[in-house]
Amino acid sequence: MSFKSLVLAASSALALAAGAASAKDSIIVAMQLEPPHLDPTSAAAGAIDSVLYSNVFEGLTRFMGDGAVVPGLAASWEISDDGLTYTFSLHSGVTFHDGTTMDAEDVKFSLDRARAEDSTNAQKALFAGIIDVSVVNPQTVKVTLSEPNGNFLFNMAWGDAVIVAPESIDDIKTNPIGTGAFKFANWVQGDKIELARNDSYWGTPAVLSSANFKFISDPTAAFAAMMAEDIDAFISFPAPENIPQFEADPRFQVLVGSTEGETILSTNNMQPPFDDVRVRKAVAHAINRQAIVDGAMFGYGTPIGSHFAPHNPAYVDLTANSAYDPEKAKSLLAEAGMAEGFSTTLHLPPPSYARRGGEIIAAQLAEVGIKAEIINVEWAQWLETVFRGKDFGLTIVSHTEPMDIGIYARPEYYFQYDNKGFQELMTGLNATTDPGKRIEMMQEAQKIIADDYVNGYLFQLAQLSVAKAGVQGLWTNAPTQATDLTSVSWAE
């Protein structure tokens, strides 16, 4: 380990020195959150994928910047007629950064590890349908499912499904060894993570020779660092109010895209009075979405009426279902025997969409007589109290996983929505491969949760990134949490 890290440190130092000497072939990318560790297959923290996805780790398939799923380490695949067997042909000549070869054994190891009983994978559901992974030959691996899963190739593109090696798994949290176009070089905790180009990459090599990820959590500091040109790009810039200034400044470019983040007023469906659908409906009608988008996000964000991303082809606009109508909200509350209103709690995690959005929502709820006590919490506290403890009335959070309407089929999930009909629909959806039928079912699902007013649906979080004018190749949208630098370069 120590010798390896010495070599890595030396090579990264060389890479940095070379970068400084020649023209621009390195980049400093900043983001808000630092990863807790560097194993994308054992934690929910999106910050891990933001640094490592597609740069260091790759899966059988991968997401492109537009959300498309394309072949990754698997060059091609065959699906049996019953939809139960996927035979992947792997690219040949792929090696991990430590020099070991990537073959079918590693794929089997990674998938078996992720779906194991004691697996700590944050998205175990992705692998739930797999009943067997078998090695046909070093370049071919066969995956057998218990039932057809129309989402399987999509699932394999997630950062939680990347291929890791048994040789390097023990140190993965501090020294991640993948197959990507960049290799991990150094991590200065609390400050930055350094990546260096993988010169023996199997695919198209990266243009940049090195990349540094810096972590700046404070929005004011982020603004200052960008303005001072200390950083080359800031992914998911935290202060939307500053975007117009960057747009007006010729030194910078602003990338306005969308994320998979449905920002919702999560409601504890098991906690009275929210177990009454009329109360949830009243809350939904008390909310003025446009005011929240304008007030909290300075206009960036698309109002949504269900838990579904507007850029998805299966999206149905259901915002009219819960249009802003405080009078209706009041009469619904009266109908539910709450004419006097009631008190509840509103837990707000740190991002400005939650803190500012929460202040606006509290004011809007107060208009109809609901007194929401604002409790500002840090993320750790939020995970503890709200997500795991389920001890909350309302909270605001953006669900950034792609295509995650399936969480409504999990009654134990923190907002605790339990609807047998919906759960059956989701089981049916997973078993359906016909694209037209799938779209129909997904639209049905959106309508069910909108009609049940499970949560207050606010807006689709915008992806706002700021970069120096010369940077090209950054993702505008965020189809998954990733900062794909493999095709990023500087304009001449």
Binding site: P219, E241, A291, A363, I374
Partner: protein, 271 residues
């Protein structure tokens, strides 16, 4: 009356007036949001402009004064009501084990950086105005304990205390009837200074999000909210910042003036 006292008293009473008037009248509802009218600069309708939610800043400053004063007042109250009896007891038992115990306990509280402990308290018991008051109040205790002990010690050597003793009064009675009135001047001056420090501490705690929670307006939180908008809406930060400056300056000048005015030695010199 010194000039300091007049200026200080004027500024302080201005803030106090704003806080009192806010109970019966503000130009707008301080919590009412009007997003389309956000980020206005000072104008005839919104005298100090509007914030990022379109709330009237003048109204928020008025109600914010209430928050600041309430927090600082109660915190100083805690400091005086616990610190002074402790200090007087210590002085009465000068050199005894009780004196040692009280004063070393004071040193212990003094030794901790106050803001760190305040953050600790709010982290354990939750952020909010009440916990901010307690946190700031705790740090006022040793200040008042020390100052009253120091002043009381020298008084204990005086003849009129001896006389009271000879007359058979107990230490507790002497402390209350003879010592306390004679150190009241000092306490008032110190109270004024601590009051201004309390306002600063409240603003500081609110700035880091541990003071009064929204929608209760607080100058410190207004500053924090304005931070990312300073470059295009500087009035959002300048106005609550000025409110804090005016209040703290006023209280400090008043404290200074009061000290000069109440100091017996200077009074002799004046007459």
């Amino acid at each position: 009356m010194t000039r300091n006292l007049i200026i200080g008293a004027t500024l302080s009473s201005l803030v106090l007036l704003a806080a009192l008037v806010s109970f019966v009248w503000t130009p707008f509802d301080h919590a009412a949001m009007n997003i389309p009218a956000k980020l206005q600069t000072p104008n005839l309708i919104h005298w100090l402009g509007t914030d990022h939610f379109g709330r009237d800043i003048f109204s928020m400053i008025m109600v914010g004064a209430r928050t600041s004063i309430a927090v600082a007042l109660v915190a100083v109250g805690i400091g005086i009501s616990i610190g002074v009896p402790l200090g007087l007891t210590a002085a009465a038992r000068n050199g005894g084990w009780l004196d040692e115990l009280i004063m070393r306990g004071n040193d212990l509280v003094f030794a901790f950086p106050s803001l760190v402990i305040a953050i600790l308290i709010t982290a354990i018991f939750g952020a909010g105005a009440i916990n901010a008051i307690i946190a700031i109040g705790i740090f006022n205790i040793p200040v008042f304990a020390r100052i009253s002990r120091g002043a009381a010690l020298s008084l204990w050597q005086r003849e009129f205390i001896m006389a009271a003793r000879v007359a058979g009064k107990g230490t507790a009675r002497i402390s209350a009837e003879h010592i306390l009135p004679n150190i009241a001047n000092l306490l008032i001056v110190q109270g004024t200074i601590q009051f201004s420090l309390g306002i600063l501490a409240e603003a500081g705690l609110s700035y880091v999000g541990l003071g009064a929670q929204p929608p209760t307006p607080s100058w410190g939180r207004m500053l924090a909210d304005a931070q990312t908008m300073v470059s295009f809406a500087p009035h959002l930060a300048l106005i609550p910042g000025s409110a804090i400056i005016v209040t703290v300056l006023g209280l400090n000048l008043m404290g200074d003036g009061l000290r000069d005015y109440l100091d017996p030695k200077l009074r002799v010199a004046r007459t």
